[in-house]
């Protein structure tokens, strides 16, 4: 895929706090690039700089071969932005909101009407077009928030956590819409701290933490490093007799974490050793309440890279 945007050595500080520590990445034409990271990782600051609403302290953003600072108006024309907070006029109807925001991108007359109609259909709000936004549910507002960003058919859509605080049904609708945008050839930059969303929509993933990019690649390539591992989570009734070291006598066990009555064991994937782990626990008189086994996920990737869970 062709490069649409190149971000290089972006830095930003707020007083003494270094929020971005020289991040660099590319955005390819037609992809859904997910920026994943916990709160405070620097995702929103990155987005604010990409939208040209916030200046950076250092670094450069090249869009279609030219720095955005030298083509600010055409660059902004090519963008569609979904901010984290709902940016809608509550007292106006869905149609009026769309019409106003699309007109800011130079649309008018029949062209504007067509764009508004398409955006309403996209958001599934065609039948509520004349209703005031304040009468909408949270999910409907979120969908309209996205529709306002894409009505003018931008080349690059930037979404900053667009599914925060909504019901699963609306979330699925939004994720399907993003896949639809991707299929129509739009490029999407999507920030989130929901791992499941990234699994569903991403073409490529950037993982951020503490203002730096700690990993980048497709979900397959990111998982590759730990694909030969699996994790058992075992809940026991009462723990008091068993220690970490005893598990390492079982073939394939790589790491053990005991927290209260829960034991997490990371093991090599090809080794069938669960029966031996169960036997070990039985021999020590432990009563097993529950066992789960999971393969490598992005959550595991994140945990391995940062030593903490995404939503910690």
């Amino acid at each position: 895929m062709e490069n649409l945007m190149s971000v290089s050595h972006l830095t930003k500080s707020f007083k003494e706090n270094k929020v971005l520590k020289g991040i660099s990445f590319d955005v390819r034409q037609g992809e859904v690039l997910c920026i994943l990271g916990p709160n405070g990782a620097g995702k929103t600051t990155t987005i604010n700089i990409l939208t040209a609403a916030l200046g950076s302290d250092g670094g450069e953003i090249i869009y279609k071969g030219r720095p955005i600072s030298r083509q600010l108006r055409p660059y902004k024309q090519a963008l569609g932005i979904v901010p984290q907070d709902l940016a809608l006029y509550e007292e106006l109807s869905a149609e009026q909101n769309l019409s106003f925001f699309a007109s800011l991108y130079g649309l008018h007359g029949p062209e504007l009407k067509k764009a508004v109609d398409q955006a309403l259909v996209f958001a599934g709000l065609d039948d509520r077009r004349r209703d005031k936004v304040k009468t909408f549910s949270g999910g409907m507002k979120r969908r309209l928030n996205i529709a306002c960003a894409i009505a003018h058919r931008p080349e690059l859509v930037i979404m900053d956590e667009p599914t925060v605080g909504i019901d699963p049904q609306s979330r699925n609708y939004i994720l399907d819409s993003i896949k639809k945008l991707r299929d129509e050839g739009m490029t999407v930059i999507y920030t989130t701290h929901y791992m499941e969303e990234v699994e569903v929509i991403s073409t490529r993933i950037i993982i951020m933490d503490h203002g730096s990019i700690i990993a980048e690649g497709t979900k397959e390539s990111l998982k590759e490093g730990i694909e030969n591992e699996k994790k058992y989570t075992i809940d026991i009734e009462e723990n008091g007799k068993i220690s970490h070291d005893e598990f390492f006598s079982v073939e394939g066990v790589k790491s053990v974490k005991i927290e209260g009555n829960t034991i997490e064991i990371t093991s090599l994937k090809g080794v069938e050793n669960l029966d031996r782990i169960i036997a070990l626990l039985s021999n020590r008189g432990e009563k097993i309440k529950n066992i789960t086994s999971e393969n490598a996920s992005l959550e595991t990737v994140f945990l391995k890279l940062t030593g903490r869970r995404l939503r910690d």
């Binding site: 939208t51 200046g55 902004k76 007292e91 800011l104 991108y105 130079g106 306002c148």
Partner: protein, 246 residues
């Protein structure tokens, strides 16, 4: 230009849809003129003079409070969030603050002129032989007040702080300027302090046009307020930062 007009129309619509702002600039202003006129009518030889005095002074008070209309239009949370999209759009940052200033000016000006149109015949208030001078002189003052509100927002980045400071400043200047009661009869010291208040200058200028049919102070006020407006808009341009909206 089309984008600017679109934003201006939206800002103006939002203002006219706000019952609080419409009420403040019409019902509240009308009530305060009537109450103050009624309470002080005994102090004047002719009760109509009391209404004449308070229609002019309260109108000036209302015009200066137009600064708060602008700060509300600029930074009120429900407006601020959708305004974020204007920042993201190719419209640029100038329409953000200038459109708010212009919309606040038009809103306040229209309502205040309507108020005069009702009150002048009703209370026998005169605006001079040619009321157009009086109404024309209001325009730059209204605009300067709106620009002041926007300018304060650009500096303090917060509607609450801006409104508190503006309210305090306008009230103090109006008390010193004799808006609620004249300080001229309260001794030479207070009369001197009163003369330092720009509100006193405005009162004098508007009374000169309305009661003396003199245009001696028309151009100084008109051009002075216009110059202040230009300086405040330039100040907005200098101090406005898009990141304050994020």
């Amino acid at each position: 230009m089309r984008r600017f007009l679109s934003i201006f129309k939206m800002d103006l619509t939002n203002l006219f849809k706000s019952p609080v702002l419409v009420g403040y600039n019409t019902v509240f202003a009308a009530l305060i003129i009537l109450i103050m006129g009624l309470l002080t009518s005994g102090n004047y030889a002719d009760a109509r003079d009391a209404y004449q005095y308070y229609t002019v002074t309260m109108l000036i008070y209302g015009m200066l409070n137009g600064a708060m209309t602008a700060s509300n239009c600029f930074m009120e949370l429900d407006i601020k969030r959708p305004n974020l999209r204007i920042i993201y759009s190719p419209a640029g940052s100038f329409p953000i603050y200038f459109s708010k200033t212009l919309a606040s000016f038009v809103f306040d000006y229209v309502l205040h002129v309507l108020l005069l149109a009702v009150f002048c015949p009703l209370l026998h208030v005169t605006l001079g032989d040619n009321p157009l001078y009086f109404i024309a002189m209001m325009a730059p003052v209204e605009f300067a007040a709106a620009a002041l509100g926007t300018f304060f927002c650009c500096i303090f980045h917060c509607e609450e702080t801006t409104s508190t400071l503006l309210s305090l400043t306008v009230s103090v200047l109006c008390i010193l300027g004799g808006t609620f009661f004249s300080l001229d009869g309260l001794g030479p010291a207070l009369a001197f302090i009163s003369k330092l208040s720009p509100v006193k200058w405005l009162n004098d200028a508007f009374f000169t046009v309305a009661c003396d049919n003199s245009l001696a102070l028309f151009w100084p006020v008109f051009l002075g307020a216009a110059a202040v407006s230009v300086l405040l808009v330039l100040g907005c341009r200098f101090f406005f930062r898009t990141e304050d909206y994020l």
